[in-house]
Each structure stands twice: as structure tokens, then as C-alpha cells.
């Protein structure tokens, strides 16, 4: 099966393939940040730093060990999540601007550390050998992206996801409902950064070269723009936002350096006409069911068992 997949990917236009892969990785990153900022309401400006941790851990695992790539990905994600939880813990009490500044500072620290470590080859960056996997990287990226979409969709409407949304809505009320704020905030950070780690490791292996300065503040803002564009807290929003902003640099290539102007104008228009993002506040399942003239599904209705 591996060989036929290789042929499939080899037959595709490399330029097109690159855009498709960029979109897939952007979706994973955006969904991760969407858990932290969209669902839990904790503004993080350091998502690219977590991505870089995943990228370097993943790359080093491939260089130093013979681990299969899927295991490598899980490890890269888990180590990033561990760092995410460690960062999440001390900054739990901060909210809003203070939290954002703290995550921003943390991101700069990570960058400087990677720029100075011997193992990450300092400012020269790291060449990443091909992954130990028979599945070609573009397919791997999209398997991960689809798993991420499904996981976050399920998460949103679970007891766990509701606790996160409660924290976003009102921390005092959430606490009075018996929700352990510290535990859920740390879990949210760990989970969101797990996604960032996976995205980073995929990015490293697809590109074959990583440099600490690839994961700058601008990259974090880029990911944040994706979820703001799509609508905070919305999974389809994050997917569409990520797709649009990951592909936009290619479509706006003819404008070269003016494309940041278009970005800016786009965001201003968005804030004026759809302040909640393109898909903010839209519940898709609900919308479709309503169009079909059906009520949304509920396991029980009016206290009677549904099935």
C-alpha cells in the first residue's frame, strides 16, 4: 500500500502538493490554538514556539533514533504538551493581556534557546532526513489533520469541552459549578500544544530543514489570524481560516510585498462586518438540520429516552 501511495503523491504537481501540505499543517496548528484561545478563551501569542519544540524534537528523534514516524509524532506531540502544561501552570492566574505578554515572552525564550543549543545546530538550522515511514508525508499530514478535526469536533460537545467553554464564558460561574479551573486550563494548554507539536514535527519532515527563526512571533500571529478569521471556537471556522491564510501567500504572490496590505484590509473588513469571524457563532449541524426542517438531535427529549 505504501508504494502505491508513493506513486500517487509522486504523480502530483509539487507546487500544488506544497500548498496542500501547508494547508494541512495550518489546520492542525489552528485547531490546537483554537482549543486554547477559541474554546478556553486564553489568548496565547506563543503557538509558533510550541510548534518549534515539536519540530526540533521530531527532527532530532529521526536523526538520533530509528523510531517509526508515527511513534516519533506522538512523542514530539507529548513532549511539547509537557512543556505546554509546565508553562500553563505558572501563568494560570493571568488573564487577557498579561497572559498574552507572558506567552509572547516564553516564545522568544524558546527561540533564543534553540538558536544557542549545539544539538539544534544553533543559527544554522537543522537538516531533517526523510521520515522513517512508508506513508508519504503529504498523506501523513492529512491523516493527522483529519484526526485533529474529528477529535476537536467531538471534544467541543463533550463534558470536557463544556468545562472549557464555561471557563471562557465566566471563570467565577464555572468555579461555582464545581469546575476545577486550574486542571482544565492546564489540560487545555497541554492539548493545544500537543497539536502544535505534531504540526511542528510534520512541518520539519516535509520541509527537510528547520531554523529557529522560522518560528517567530509573526508565525504565531499568522496562526492566531487563522482562527480569528474563521471564528474563535468554531472547528469549520478554524479549517477554513487555516486554508485561506495558508494558501493566500501563494495566490497573492504577484503582489509580493503588498500582500500584507491585503491581509490587513481583510482583517479590518472582517472586524467591521463579521466581528465573530466568518463562521463564528454558526452551528453547522444545527443549521443543516434546521434547513431540513428537523430539530437538532438530543439523546433524550423532554425527559423521555430517545431511542
Amino acid at each position: 500500500m505504501g508504494a502505491s501511495l508513493q506513486n500517487l503523491v509522486a504523480g502530483m504537481d509539487p507546487y500544488f502538493l506544497q500548498i496542500i501540505v501547508n494547508i494541512g499543517i495550518a489546520i492542525i496548528l489552528a485547531l490546537g490554538l483554537n482549543i486554547i484561545t477559541g474554546l478556553t478563551g486564553q489568548l496565547s501569542l506563543g503557538h509558533a514556539a510550541f510548534m518549534s519544540i515539536g519540530a526540533f524534537v521530531g527532527a532530532l528523534l529521526t536523526i538520533k533514533t530509528g523510531l517509526p514516524f508515527s511513534l516519533n509524532l506522538i512523542l514530539a506531540g507529548s513532549i511539547t504538551a509537557l512543556v505546554g502544561a509546565m508553562i500553563g501552570y505558572p501563568i494560570l492566574r493571568l488573564t487577557g493581556d498579561y497572559l498574552a505578554i507572558c506567552t509572547l515572552g516564553f516564545a522568544e525564550i524558546v527561540k533564543v534557546v534553540f538558536l544557542n543549543l549545539d544539538i539544534t545546530n544553533k543559527a544554522l538550522g537543522l537538516s531533517v532526513p526523510p521520515a522513517h515511514s512508508s506513508i508519504p508525508m503529504p498523506i501523513m499530514v492529512w491523516i493527522c489533520a483529519i484526526l485533529a478535526i474529528v477529535a476537536v469536533t467531538f471534544l467541543q460537545n463533550s463534558r470536557f469541552g463544556r468545562a472549557l467553554k464555561a471557563i471562557r464564558g465566566d471563570e467565577i460561574a464555572a468555579e461555582s459549578m464545581g469546575i476545577n479551573l486550574a486542571r482544565y486550563k492546564i489540560s487545555s494548554f497541554a492539548l493545544g500544544t500537543f497539536f502544535a507539536g505534531i504540526g511542528g514535527a510534520l512541518y520539519a519532515h516535509f520541509l527537510g530543514y528547520i531554523n529557529p527563526s522560522d518560528f517567530s512571533f509573526l508565525k504565531s500571529v499568522d496562526i492566531l489570524s487563522m482562527i480569528v478569521l474563521g471564528g474563535l471556537g468554531s472547528v469549520p471556522g478554524a479549517v477554513i481560516g487555516a486554508s485561506v491564510l495558508a494558501a493566500a501567500p501563494e495566490f497573492l504572490r504577484f503582489m509580493s510585498q503588498y500582500r500584507m496590505l491585503v491581509y490587513g484590509a481583510l482583517l479590518v473588513f472582517l472586524m467591521v462586518f463579521r466581528p465573530n469571524g466568518l463562521l463564528g457563532g454558526v452551528n453547522f449541524v444545527d443549521l443543516v438540520l434546521r434547513k431540513l426542517g428537523k430539530k437538532p438531535q438530543l439523546a433524550v427529549r423532554n425527559g423521555k429516552k430517545g431511542e
Binding site: 468545562a163 459549578m177 464545581g178 476545577n180 437538532p296 438530543l298 439523546a299
Partner: protein, 256 residues
Amino acid sequence: MALLDLKNVTIRFGGLTAVDSVNLQVEEGTIQALIGPNGAGKSTMFNLITGIYAPTEGEISFGGERISGGEPYKIAARGIGRTFQNIRLFSTLSVLENVLIGAHTRGKVGLGGAICKYLPWVRREEGALQEWAIECLKQVDLVHRVYEPAGSLPYGEQRRLEIARALAIKPRILLLDEPAAGMNPQEKMSLMQMIRGIRETGLTVFLVEHDMKFVMGLSDRIAVLDYGVKIADGTPLEVRSNDRVIEAYLGKGAAH
């Protein structure tokens, strides 16, 4: 033994003593009211009981166990449900979701179960939680609103939704912070019925309220707070004729 027992509870914010050595017992199965002029420290008292503030001095126990100084989420899980004076609903979420969040402590499914949502026990728990949430919404007569965003409800219904959300925790005591504020007379009447109905189910109700008529008609016992000090405690009849209460509400001289 009283269900909720406050012993010499004091809290100071800098130089201000908001609650000054208050002793108060709430008996199981009763409707207890706490009244007092604006700024008397009524809401502060609720925040002390629910753990949002820790008392500077004194001790609060619930069901015989000390709760003061504990984390708010742990105190809530022991069976204390509350509403807020300035409504604190999750306004972008649906009515059902609000109540499901209230039922948080009644579930167990964590992150793993959330992602594997088709596992039988995960589905069973979610079904049970939803069934329970609907049950709570029935008690406040809001079942017809389940899918609407909480923020879009009219004011009186938002207050009732807060009660449903507090009931979802399956509390032993329900703390209502000015439940009748901003309601018209008819709404107040039906709210009184509703609170009586809640007490019938075995719950203890502890409420803070401004509206004297509402409190007098509803409560078994009334405590009066003025400048953080408890100045009276008794049946509605006793409190109504207490000189110090009249003085606190109407000013000096009115009692004579």
C-alpha cells in the same frame, strides 16, 4: 445540627470590615432569608460560603464539615449550588449547555472519553446528563427554550435559568442572590411558587433579597445584616417588629 453553620465569620478588605463576626445557622429543609440595606455585606456573605473569599476570622461548616478556606470548585461539589446577583450565565451557549455545565460534577467522562464519544459508557453518561438537565429545566419551566442561546432569553427567564443551572449540581443547599431583582409582580409570584416547590423536593434554600414582601411571604426564618453586623434573626413576624431592623431600613426615629 444545622446544615450550614457560620461561626464568628469576619472578613476585612483593608480597613473595611464587610462582614463582622456573624453567627448564622441554616436548618435543613427550611427557607432562610438574609436581608439588609445596600452594602450591608449580603453578597459578600454568599461569596464567603462558596469559597470565592476566605474569611479573615471564623469558620464556616456545611453538613458538619469545615468548608471555609477550601477551593470554590470543591465546595460546590459538596452540594452548594448558587445563583448570582448580576446574572452570570454563559450567554453564548445554549440553555441546555448552561445546565449541562451545572451538571459537571455529576459526570466523570474526561478528555479520553470526549474523543471516543461513541463508546457505550460515554454515550450513556451523556444521555443521563442530558436527561437530568431537562429534569432541572422542567423545575423552572424552561424546557421549551433548550436550544436557544442563554443570552437571548428575557431577563426573568435568565434568572430562572440560573436557578436551573444551580439545581443541576444536585445541591443540598441552594443559595439565591436576589432572585427576584428586576422581576414584575406576576413573575415574582411564580418565582415564589417555584422556590416553594424546590423546598418541597427536600432542598434547603438560602436567599438574599431586597423585596420585603417577597421575603416575608416566603421565608421560614430571616436574618438581617447592617454594615456587616447581624442585627436580627428570627421568624418574619419577629423581624418585622424589631426596632433595630426598622431603624436600619427607615432611619432613626421611625421606630417610635
